[in-house]
């Protein structure tokens, strides 16, 4: 392990730990711009998380240890998942054949515990949110894996770095499929992060929420962990898209890391534009859009048959 590699790891950790709350800031600034408001400062989420981590907690008398495990496990899983990803053109810290399965299943583990923590409160609203999350994520999972299958076939690799990073050759070989996969992955990213058009993070009616309602009863440090984990999850899933659209292969750290950061911030702007320009879908229409995302990637697979 040479010096570049160590430096790369440090930058990787730094980006994963410190960049994510900024993405939410960028999204909110974009939405404020479209709404003609000044909006909260870019660093608002850093302040929120810091404040929440220092607060006291109120928990429901109905809950057990599962309620407390929810935030811990969901934060831990996105952190480990972030170590499987190649960021900034460098090889991922945990690169091995088949790490895409571990990546997806780690997110699944976090979701499983978030749902259980919601059910632990015994609240009908949180049950509703949990049921929706379980349903929509079950449909998003095949879309994600179909996209990964296209990447695996096109790149000939079963390792996330190879699948996402070997992009120049792949673009020439399977460009049309990749476009479909990118669209499908954007849909997956939006649904997994509970963004519009699937869920409105700013809604204030418990009956219509998905993710927000599942964490209604969490407060203080636990809620801070949830917000932090959600921000990292946005970075993690967003970087799948960024790696495909901005294929940086790491010759020079000084070029590839800034390029990646600009890319992920640009993606945050895109999310903000989407949220400003469209309304949330009715809940019954969400499955159709997710099946549509599966079909897009499915076509991507079919187009690789020759």
């Amino acid at each position: 392990m040479n010096a570049t590699r160590i430096l790369d790891l440090l930058v990787h950790l730094g980006v994963v730990l410190f960049l994510p709350p900024l993405l939410l800031g960028v999204i909110n600034k974009t939405k404020a711009f479209f709404g003609g408001r000044r909006g909260p400062p870019l660093v608002q989420l850093y302040r929120d998380i810091w404040r929440l981590l220092r607060k006291d907690t109120v928990v429901s008398t109905t809950t057990t240890w599962v309620f407390r495990a929810g935030p811990v496990v969901s934060l831990a899983t996105v952190l480990v998942a972030a170590l499987l990803l190649p960021l900034g053109g460098a090889e991922s810290p945990l690169a091995f054949t088949g790490n895409f399965v571990l990546f997806a299943y780690l997110l699944g583990l976090g979701r499983f515990f978030t749902i259980l923590a919601a059910l632990d409160t015994g609240s009908p609203f949180e049950g509703m949110g949990a049921a929706r999350e379980a349903t929509f994520s079950a449909l998003a999972e095949p879309a994600l894996f179909l996209g990964l299958v296209v990447l695996a076939r096109a790149s000939g690799s079963l390792e996330l770095g190879g699948m996402l990073g070997g992009a120049e050759g792949t673009w020439a070989k399977a460009g049309a499929s990749l476009v479909l996969v990118i669209v499908s992955l954007v849909v997956v990213m939006l649904v997994e992060n509970s963004r519009i058009p699937f869920d409105d993070p700013n809604t204030h009616l418990e009956l219509t929420m998905i993710h927000e309602v599942m964490v209604l009863d969490h407060s203080g440090p636990m809620f801070g962990m949830i917000l932090y984990g959600a921000a990292i999850k946005l970075l993690v899933l967003g970087s799948l898209v960024v790696n495909l659209v901005v294929p940086v292969t790491g010759e020079s750290l000084l070029l590839s890391w800034p390029l990646f950061i600009v890319g992920i911030l640009a993606l945050a702007v895109v999310v903000g534009v989407v949220e400003s320009s469209m309304a949330r879908l009715r809940l019954v229409q969400v499955p159709s859009l997710l099946v549509g995302a599966c079909l897009l990637s499915g076509f991507g697979v079919v187009m690789l048959v020759r």
């Binding site: 429901s60 831990a76 699944g108 583990l109 609240s123 009908p124 609203f125 049950g127 079950a138 697979v301």
Partner: protein, 655 residues
């Protein structure tokens, strides 16, 4: 030597219930002796099996049997050893669990019968795994089938138990019939009842028939969709520790049979692997979809067996495809995935059934929507059930993830470096497996959430108590196995490698450690556990001062436990999405007027194949056959005439 150990284990298991027959109905000596004998047998047989993994397989044993073509032939190769271990460990733990779950003192009239047939069931399954002659195999197969029938109908005074028992008996005998036909065809190809190689190139039609009969016969036992009809009812109605053995071990005898036949087929055509893969995929998706619709805890677990057998078949399909196209890495990953998942499913499904049994023992109901909040009253059971639930969803860092990863890798390896179009099938199998995993998580979030979390929905739940130690200990052992296989899969690679070598019949084989990132899976699991541990410590330090209050209820003044989301409401979105195969039944009254009378809503998901297709179809056939009824008039003289006529006909008939 190793063979002798296993044979001794089988004999001890077969006799384990016998001393109890002459002992008192009320005493505890009989049940303790039975568990002790089974434990001794399990220790001997497991030693034999484990020694097989390290050494060179012995020549086997054989003793003459005066039936033509038959031989008491025993052979213990690594494939058999994998299943022997599972049979004996599973049966012994279930027997230990039964000490507290089905004590003789509480069941004076059927306890002794249950233990006799339980021992015979273990012995029958053990015989199936080590038999090296078709006749001997079928003998074990029938002992196993009948003993399973008699164990599952322990409470035979109840009508619904008898009904599911008969469905099982019919299903298992249809399976046995096709196995008789299959072994006859194999004999006509190879000239013996030993398990020799079936040449598919020289006999394409006969070999295809062998394959089809194997899928039918072994698929019926394994419970592959749509041959699963006997499975949900039988698992739901049997005593819970018998359900655990049926689901964890008995189904695997079907898997064992198909693995064995797969090893016998020489150069099988690609379509055979594709059929197994496709059946597995259908079974996995539909199994979990039906599970989501269930609100009987044991029925739900039973449908998950259909799902997991589907995943095992997917792995086996990959291995068969690899054998056809000459890709040893597909054989290695597919078969290792299938066999490890066979173990894993035996482990976490037994764990889950034991957990369900503790709940049933404590509350007297297996209706999920009547439970709730048991996590507080049964803390140990709830943690152990959660370990099983996480493992069965294939989530890291537990064992289900490792075996599913092997299957994913096998499927993924087939994407690269091939021409032709068959890779499209494996390509679409990958998202199918992902869908299955996500649906399983949804289903177990529902099951665990509705049973152990929230607040109790009925009196049943309010008076629950923690299980006694003979029930807890087997669960702790199984949960520990889930963690060990998940964190250190490399420990089990030699056994799987041995089985792959024995299956593919070639010594030069790429080892599992080269094919799969075993050590990095361990690193990932350790990292995950470490980060979770750090997070938990950090949170613990921050959560010194905690105020408590009621759950946020949006200002509603008087929330009750009945307002919680039930398991049925949790599952409603998904059952609606899958209604095109599930055909759910709902009874929803229309509410009229300003002051409607009290009313009720009910919904259920009956088995589409059994209740919606087969039963109506069989009723129609029954009606159409009225005109044949005079043949069976109940007159003994008439029957004697039939027999004489049949004998005369046979004497006259000269082919």
């Amino acid at each position: 030597m190793n063979e002798w150990l296993v044979v001794a284990g089988i004999i001890l298991a077969a006799l384990s219930g016998v001393p109890g027959l002459v002992l008192s109905r009320r005493g505890t000596a009989g049940e303790r002796l039975a568990t002790g004998l089974l434990g001794l047998g399990a220790a001997l047989a497991s030693t034999g099996a484990i020694r097989t993994f390290g050494g060179v397989p012995g020549p086997g044993l054989s003793a003459p049997w005066p039936v033509p073509g038959a031989l008491f032939a025993v052979r213990l190769d690594p494939i058999a050893a994998i299943f022997v271990l599972q049979v004996f460990v599973g049966s012994f733990l279930a027997s230990l669990y039964g000490l507290a779950y089905w004590p003789q003192a509480e069941h004076p009239f059927n306890g002794r019968k249950l233990r006799l047939f339980f021992g015979l069931l273990a012995a029958g399954m053990g015989t199936v795994t080590i038999a090296a002659n078709a006749m001997f195999f079928l003998l074990g197969w029938e002992v196993m089938a009948i003993a399973a029938f008699l164990s599952l109908t322990t409470v035979d005074e109840r009508r619904e138990v008898r009904e599911v028992g008969y469905v099982y008996l019919v299903a298992t005998h249809v399976g046995t019939l096709s196995l008789f036909a299959m072994f006859t065809l194999i004999e006509s190809i190879t000239g013996s009842f030993a398990f020799g190689g079936v040449d598919t190139v020289a006999h394409p039609v006969l070999a295809s028939a062998v394959f089809a009969l194997a899928v039918l016969g072994f698929g019926l036992k394994a419970g592959i969709m749509p041959l699963h009809v006997w499975l949900p009812g039988a698992h739901a109605r049997a005593p819970t520790h018998v359900s655990a053995v049926m689901s964890g071990v008995l189904l695997k005898m079907g898997v064992y049979g198909l693995v064995r036949v797969g090893a016998m087929l020489v150069e099988p055509p690609v379509w055979q692997g594709a059929v197994v893969l496709g059946l597995g995929a259908v079974s996995a998706v539909l199994g979990v979809a039906f599970a989501i619709g269930q609100h009987d805890l044991k029925r739900l677990l039973a449908y998950h067996s259909v799902e997991n057998v589907g995943i095992i078949f997917m792995g086996l399909g990959v291995a068969l495809i690899g054998k056809s196209v000459g890709r040893p890495e597909l054989v290695g990953l597919g078969l290792a995935g299938a066999l490890l998942h066979t173990w894993n499913h035996g482990i976490f499904k037994a764990l889950l059934f034991f957990g369900a049994g503790s709940v049933i023992h404590a509350t007297g109901t297996q209706e999920i929507d009547h439970l709730g909040g048991l996590g507080r009253r049964m803390p140990l059971t709830s943690v152990l059930f959660l370990v099983g639930a996480t493992a069965i969803c294939g989530l890291p860092p537990l064992n289900g993830f490792v075996s599913e990863l092997f299957v994913y890798l096998g499927l993924g390896r087939s994407l690269a470096g091939v021409n032709g179009t068959w890779w499209v099938l494996t390509a679409f199998a990958i998202p199918t497996l992902a869908l299955v995993g996500a649906l399983a998580s949804a289903c177990f979030a529902k099951a665990f959430g509705a049973v152990f979390l929230g607040t109790g929905r009925s009196e049943h739940a309010a008076h629950a108590h923690e299980a006694r130690w003979p029930m807890i200990v087997p669960m702790v052992v199984l949960a520990a196995l889930c963690v060990v296989i998940g964190v250190a899969p490399a420990l089990f690679a030699p056994a799987l490698d041995g089985a792959v070598v024995a299956w593919s019949g070639r010594a030069a084989h790429v080892s599992l450690a080269e094919l799969a990132p075993l050590s990095l899976v361990s690193v990932g699991a350790a990292l995950l556990l470490g980060v979770i541990g750090l997070g938990a410590l950090g949170l613990r330090r921050r959560l010194r001062r905690v105020a408590t209050t009621g759950t946020w209820d949006c200002g509603y003044a008087a929330p009750t436990a009945r307002m919680q989301y039930t398991s049925s409401s949790f599952a409603q979105n998904l059952t609606r999405l899958f209604s095109f195969v599930l055909w759910p039944r709902t009874h929803a009254p229309t509410v009229r007027g300003s002051f409607p009378a009290s009313t009720s809503f009910a919904s259920e998901v009956p088995d589409a194949v059994l209740d919606r297709l087969m039963v109506p179809a069989l009723r129609t056939v029954e009606r159409m056959m009225v005109w044949l009824r005079w043949i069976q008039a109940g007159n003994v003289h008439l029957y004697l005439t039939y027999i004489v006529a049949a004998i005369v006909l046979l004497l006259l008939w000269r082919p």
